[in-house]
Symmetry: C2
DNA sequence: ATTAACTTGCACAATCATGTGCAAGTTATT
DNA sequence: AATAACTTGCACATGATTGTGCAAGTTAAT
């Protein structure tokens, strides 16, 4: 008897799954309530085939959040620096590469069925921001006119604003990289020249590679 | 023959209409796709009665935008000052009072059927911000490391961030008033002490009345 | 008190998205 | 070339929401 040999999954199926996730990221970033039909169309597939890859709408969306939080976590691993302010700048610039994922997550964190799940997925990131802000505040290297918890939230918003700016106008990778840091430092209380000096005097913050 | 005398509208009907608009502001601010049933319930009325006041969902939402833009316009009338930076601070603090209206509008401007209409309604406000930023940039009183159009958008975001902060934590009227200005100035390039001095040295920016 | 204004509940048709079954295709793998 | 893997189109049931008609009730104005 022939052992029930399971054939390995087709490569195009894997591609299609990825295409669906990409399309979902794009589509849901502008409308978290968009139909699966819209997502499938954006991926160049039929609505029916979505169910070949995901059990249902919820599973697709949850996967987006899961992937996103994994990427964010990876981006955060490389962030380590004694100066909490540098760390905050690094966090911002690290997130810059995960714009697509973060925008969906930011949306899902506010509305939709996955609110709690998404908030949970973002919790480590936010905790890291808060910790850095707190540490910098204790060290007296940032503003002291705003309570740390509130300031941490405003810093998050400042970073998000730059991410959204990237969807409103053409923002080169280099410009975006610097703008996130500059806007973050501004929120932390730095004057604009002060922020520029801060960044330029620290090689960790200056974009290394001139690649792409 | 008796002339077809039309009786004046009942007072409770007027109240109910207002209650519906209030409820809609609250409900739609968290979910622009919420059902009319949810809105009616929040207003303490039945879904059916909504149609006694508004032709349909669209009309209700459009009315929200119309009212909002009228309030914003009124708030902006009192803003006039030779110094564009002061003007920007005043705009921010003026908008602070219209949080509820602005939050719905900010949402509608991004999604939903009224996107274009809402963007149009917000255009004068945004134009005023851009003009002030541009003027200040020419005068050299603000940062010069970010193109004015982009900076104007970031200023809008900075103000919005404070409006949202008011929904996340308890923000007294006085604190909110100052925070909008401080965050705006920070985005314009001011250091935090610089921003504080700027505000405190200008009586127009210091909250006049201690009235609630 | 009378009457018009208003609210409500119910029923109804219409629309739209979801999720599933199935048969007929196409395509990558072996 | 054979076959499993995958996609597609269609049909169908389900559920949510919208907008409307109408009859019965309630409430404010006169």
């Amino acid at each position: 008897m022939s052992t029930t040999t399971t054939r390995s999954p087709r490569r195009d199926a894997v591609d299609n799954r990825a295409a669906l996730l990409d399309a979902a990221r794009v589509v849901f970033a502008t409308d978290p309530d968009a139909s699966l039909d819209a997502v499938a169309a954006a991926a160049g597939l039929s609505r029916r085939s979505v169910y070949g890859h995901f059990a249902n709408r919820d599973e697709l969306q949850r996967e987006l959040v899961t992937i996103g939080s994994a990427r964010v976590a990876t981006a955060l691993e490389s962030v380590a620096h004694p100066d909490p302010v540098v760390r905050l700048a690094l966090i911002g610039s690290g997130l810059w590469r995960e714009v697509a994922d973060l925008r969906v997550m930011a949306l899902f964190a506010v509305r939709g069925a996955h609110k709690q799940y998404t908030i949970g997925a973002l919790a480590p990131l936010r905790a890291q921001v808060l910790a850095a802000v707190r540490e910098a505040a204790s060290a007296g290297t940032i503003r002291s006119d705003i309570p740390v918890e509130r300031l941490a939230r405003l810093v998050e918003d400042a970073a998000l604003a730059v991410l959204e700016e990237s969807t409103r106008s053409v923002l080169s990778a280099a410009d975006g990289h610097r703008l996130v840091m500059v806007n973050t430092l501004g929120t932390l209380g730095f004057g604009w020249r002060e922020a520029a000096d801060f960044i330029d005097s620290r090689p960790e913050l200056v974009r290394r590679e001139a690649t792409s």
